[in-house]
Symmetry: C2
Amino acid sequence: MTDRFEADYLIETATDPAHAAEVMAGEQSSGTFLVIPGETEELKARAAARIERFEEIDPLAVPSLPGAAADRGQGWRRARVTLSWPVANIGPSLPNLLATVAGNLFELKPFSGLRLLDIRVPRAFAAAQPGPRFGVAGTRRLSGVANGPLIGTIVKPSVGLSAVETADLVATLAGAGIDFIKDDELQADGPACPFEDRARAVMRVINDHADRTGKKVMYAFNLTGEVDEMRRRHDLIRDLGGTCVMASLNSLGLTGFLALSRHAELPIHAHRNGWGYLSRHPALGWSYIAWSRLWRLAGADHMHVNGIANKFCESDDSSIASARSQLEPMWDDLPVTAMPVFSSAQTVLQPPETFARLGSADLIYAAGGGLMGHPDGPAAGVASLRAAWEAAMEGIPLDTRATDSPALARALAQAGGQAPA
Amino acid sequence: MTDRFEADYLIETATDPAHAAEVMAGEQSSGTFLVIPGETEELKARAAARIERFEEIDPLAVPSLPGAAADRGQGWRRARVTLSWPVANIGPSLPNLLATVAGNLFELKPFSGLRLLDIRVPRAFAAAQPGPRFGVAGTRRLSGVANGPLIGTIVKPSVGLSAVETADLVATLAGAGIDFIKDDELQADGPACPFEDRARAVMRVINDHADRTGKKVMYAFNLTGEVDEMRRRHDLIRDLGGTCVMASLNSLGLTGFLALSRHAELPIHAHRNGWGYLSRHPALGWSYIAWSRLWRLAGADHMHVNGIANKFCESDDSSIASARSQLEPMWDDLPVTAMPVFSSAQTVLQPPETFARLGSADLIYAAGGGLMGHPDGPAAGVASLRAAWEAAMEGIPLDTRATDSPALARALAQAGGQAPA
């Protein structure tokens, strides 16, 4: 596959799934619904999509999605299909790759289900993209956290604090020993909390703390906006000594994101808000593994993955598979890996299972109420999360570790759960 | 609603839907899952989302989506909910509006269904956006088509033709009297058909034809790519005398699209490929009416709507509602309307029903095989479609009109269908 890119799909259809796969391949390359004079065999050989792999799996008794061509009495047959296309159809362009692998497919009449499972591009295609310039190593260097997860939080309330109120909260969190803080994705550049005011007030606090302690808290400023705005905001953060910017992927789109990442000199914390509408139905849309690959190629350094026992609908298996995928190199000499961000109702209870299942602590562990809500305050919150992660990494039960960490002991008591063995 | 924006949702939940609506409002404004010290009543009054309207509708016996909080024996209750937010939370920013109205909502645990139905912004918010600069009037002016639909087609095969082969096809189509041609969305800037070569070859044909006949065919060149590439390609088309550019909305994202539209001096033909993954499940994602509003605000001049009896899963009712919405002014003095583009298996058979239901011929009617595949060639294909539309607009049955249009008669015979009365 040196000059072709590939995509894996789960398909579901009342027709012959092998024929349905041919419809997909035709629709997404040289085909139309009538044979056209110009569509020669030579042209097809040059441009057509190819079915690389096809595996039928168990059928369903009822269709996953409405509107498809009708049942023929064989149930709703399913298959895993891999299609490939010549890079020469589009050039090394992520926006056009997207229109090819995820274009006019999901509405096609034969399909009562169609989901994109994974994407592979040739190394030369990947090398033409910005890719993550910081990832795990760069994030550790800039934050000064050599081992274990970055312990982090999100500024809450999500929106409503002024710039000065935000900076006051950051001062509290920096004093509590935190590694990482992010804006909420709802906080942008409204008149109630202008980006520049927030950036200056927060960075004053962070720089003062760094001067006193040697530790510079990484703060991901949400610069989501139009291209020129984002570049201006990025430059401001850089000039103020900041070490991270954040953007909402679904708002930017690949084109918007590339305009930021090609300009950026700081790690980009990629926020996936809206992800649910792309993924929530298991027979429709995107797997995170496929989708996140595009954003990593485009330059995302931090990718959200929810986490064990999150407050959303995502299963633990799905969260862990997503996180693993971010850390898995595409090539040894061109890894295109990002640092997974765990969040959503994370507390001291999840580190043991998270570490055991992920096999790594190369991650950001962001707790909201689970940190700010510690009965002894945020410093105890940070300490309790660090102790929980140390225990997880050393294979010590949380209850055992809690005997010499009062902060963890109190957090466990508050969480009300028995610590996992 | 002068300083707030609103969004309408369809929600489905096993819990009390009124409570679930409060969860949505909390998640998308000041809330988190624990009460935070900073979350004062004053702050809530300033920043919180508000439930403006709530109407429970008939429940379902089974959940639409998996993964939601479990049934409590009351079935899966549904409601239409309108939330509003202060513009001051985000400023007049479309990318941040998106993260607010369609952010971390679709994954929330209480919901077995959540779909965005419509969006409304204050006039001042809309006035800060580029909006469509051409729309129906500008497209008619540039194409020289004063009345009736623009009769159009898509270059097929979708991908695989060289620049010269594309231009040869355009010469045929221009000679056939066509009004509008577009690149396929799979055709971009690959080495097999570089954008610049294609643009120069096609515009030479179009300009020659215009010099001879006075009619300049509108060609929508697909410039989907990164921001700098798109702006360069746009400028090339403008300098060559072209009158339209095309972009894939889901590839660009709102941020990428705004970077194009703020720069553009030509109509933007907005391609919605990938739309299926946003909309295919009726209890998840986006209605086209909500989604297309964002792109119209961002500057889309032409918006795809499928059409009657299309080859995709979309119903006729849905296509017509989508098309109506594009033509419906947001304000009398700030209409933000776009020209709907009908396509996908359109032939001479659909104009009567399309016109009767839409009540307008302010549209682009793009036929592929239905035009190129006419037994007497593309000129007869164009003539047959024009005759069908004239009949539709005059209220004459197609069969009657066919008595003095051999091209229409042959097309009707080929289509094999009885013309609708």
